[in-house]
Amino acid sequence: MVVPSLKLQDLIEEIRGAKTQAQEREVIQKECAHIRASFRDGDPVHRHRQLAKLLYVHMLGYPAHFGQMECLKLIASSRFTDKRVGYLGAMLLLDERHDAHLLITNSIKNDLSQGIQPVQGLALCTLSTMGSAEMCRDLAPEVEKLLLQPSPYVRKKAILTAVHMIRKVPELSSVFLPPCAQLLHERHHGILLGTITLITELCERSPAALRHFRKVVPQLVQILRTLVTMGYSTEHSISGVSDPFLQVQILRLLRILGRNHEESSETMNDLLAQVATNTDTSRNAGNAVLFETVLTIMDICSAAGLRVLAVNILGRFLLNSDRNIRYVALTSLLRLVQSDHSAVQRHRPTVVECLRETDASLSRRALELSLALVNSSNVRAMMQELQAFLESCPPDLRADCASGILLAAERFAPTKRWHIDTILHVLTTAGTHVRDDAVANLTQLIGGAQELHAYSVRRLYNALAEDISQQPLVQVAAWCIGEYGDLLLAGNCEEIEPLQVDEEEVLALLEKVLQSHMSLPATRGYALTALMKLSTRLCGDNNRIRQVVSIYGSCLDVELQQRAVEYDTLFRKYDHMRAAILEKMPLAEQDGPQADEEAKESKEAAQLSEAAPVPTEPQASQLLDLLDLLDGASGDVQHPPPLDPSPGGALVHLLDLPCAPPPPAPIPDLKVFEREGVQLNLSFIRPPENPALLLITVTATNFSEGDVTHFICQAAVPKSLQLQLQAPSGNTVPARGGLPITQLFRILNPNKAPLRLKLRLTYDHFHQSVQEIFEVNNLPVESWQ
């Protein structure tokens, strides 16, 4: 007996009736079993209904792959009802990764050439949503024919399908370029909208097409003018603005055509001025058009007066009560800040106001824009605002805000003291969110400002006494107290109120840091070394220090243990050298503490383990965890070691490295990866003005027969180096030597640490996912020395 199958509505009703997830699963599994049986039996009458139900459960997240073949059967049927569901199923269930998708190509071809209009519409819609490169190549002639058909319904769909095809198969641009000129003469808005989109796509892909279409600028201007001056027409108007969607598309195309081209920009000037002044801004649609106009004015070579008008419009929008408008205004200003900096500066106060927004999207935009607006004349005021923001901003913005403030402070600090204060403030407010090199930068800065040693150590001591949980702050404070402990105890500093600090307090504080469970191993290392240094700076006997040092000689942490044992040895056997070894450090050179790394004790003495990784020192390289670059081991590789300048007998300068950077020589390229025709090459550049910087350009090429898609390259370097990956040029490499993907890596290596690079590649090739993780061998020495 044939049980009548459920209608879609009934199934939905049943699913909604389920009270728990388990019940819902049960209902759906039962129904899927029926559907599968029905597909097996091949019942043509109810097939469309079964597929509709399957598509519904697919949306809820249940497996529906067994419906793929049914889509094909439904598409091939002659009934419209069947085709409708079949094509929908194809869009939802089939995509380029399944081989089955190619099977509908024939049906689409038949429907495009012989079907009635609604059927042609269905076929075009499906093709434009899931059409793969092969399908597009096969069906291009059919779509081309449909471009010039009389029915506007089919034509507008054919045009947008052509845009999709060009995206998939760029060579088809030559097929679809010629009809554009004629299509622009159409009056139907749908066709015009599609044509403008098509022309925009063509111009973005090829400079030749761009030049070709500059001819139509007058025509576009005319179309836009007609739209703007047309009276109220109910057909396409949204809130009184005639077809704002079409207006926005035309403005966007005009922007592309007028960029860097005097003549075209000239033609558009009047119209843009007209739109900018006459658009009704009381509703959203008008504002959308106005924004596009402003962006276009700023991008082309427009008259100065017009540009001023545009920026003022944006400034006005910043004060609008509607949050959406403010958001778009901030986004637009961010785009303009590079090219028209002074114009945007005028609106700085309003932008800073927006920092206080409760809306997270708006405050994020305002933060980006504020950071971009900081310059040497407004830096003090801006920093004040930004620091206030840092204290109250939502946690996901903290890291960006902190690093933004530090960067701006580095570039524009008016005085050293202000700079130190700013960094201190950031460390106390958002210490856990700052980047790793903030500590090194601050110690460098303080070291260089001799007149501020007393001041810095004071302030750091006070900050540390209040709170020992923020690790970067603790590390810097420990270092400072170690170095300048004598200044701290001397008690005089005219810039802060005098504070009597006695030795025991200082030692107690450092011991507290050592013992606290909140301190990272690296922080403990800093604290222990600081204690050791104080043994020469303080006047009392060193029993307390010696005690601490010997306790830590049996600490479980290997790093700390090694240090403690070495210091202990220093006390016991080499006491005569202690003062010299623990002297104040001279300022390290800006391009890395290369000059002061090399003083080492002779080989029989314990080595000072604070050596930053030294190029030719094999033991130091064991500090780097070479097997797993992604989580580096010892975190203190940035710690500059104490220096012994005097030739005290047994001390040997192992290396006497020159301070001047070596003359730049071109570094040879390196091929690092090859698999089935896919290659990865690295090329290296060391800019002479910044010796710590290394620029690596990664190029991925494809000489195989299959396209490489979804290509992602990730990299890791040792912890002492800093890596910044810029966005790749794309993620697809077409087959047979198609346009390669390039990506730029910026590596900062101030310590001249040996460069190691681990790469992880993921991509799809020949319909398979490929993942490769490997370390790059044979890196040329010139890339890091």
Binding site: M59, I238, F245, V248, S361, L362
Partner: protein
Amino acid sequence: MIKAILIFNNHGKPQLSKFYQPYSEDTQQQIIRETFHLVSKRDENVCNFLEGGLLIGGSDNKLIYRHYATLYFVFCVDSSESELGILDLIQVFVETLDKCFENVCELDLIFHVDKVHNILAEMVMGGMVLETNMNEIVTQIDAQNKLEKSEAGLAGAPARAVSAVKNMNLPEIPRNINIGDISIKVPNLPSFK
């Protein structure tokens, strides 16, 4: 281009999901969950724009959403689309749904998901805006629905009877018939509509 169009209710249950770029099934479900998570955290009077989640492509892409009573309409777009324009597009979409379903409510969308897909397909195709003129869209949808009904044959007879009655043009029944000085008040008859 528009990368995805999602409609879900206040509990995150999807009522419609259309992706214009190939994502695996798992990724699609994750995107729906991630988007719901991001959008439901928003207050009522903040702006309608959000940075996209990691799965949909990170900060280069935006989520533009509108909250109508119990439903969220979310369009995930990349940076080439005008944000305010998409807001208008959502509005046009909802108004079109309103016209096609006659005062659309959430239940209409739930029980007629396939019809919503068909309407959407007339407005957005391949991630690009196709048509924004409501009348054109509604005309097309009506024509296609008629085509389906005519194919339905005998099985569709009751449905056709109902729609025939609905479309019947009854002459306007006068409320008051005035003949000379006799005034007859016509009682309120139940409407067929």
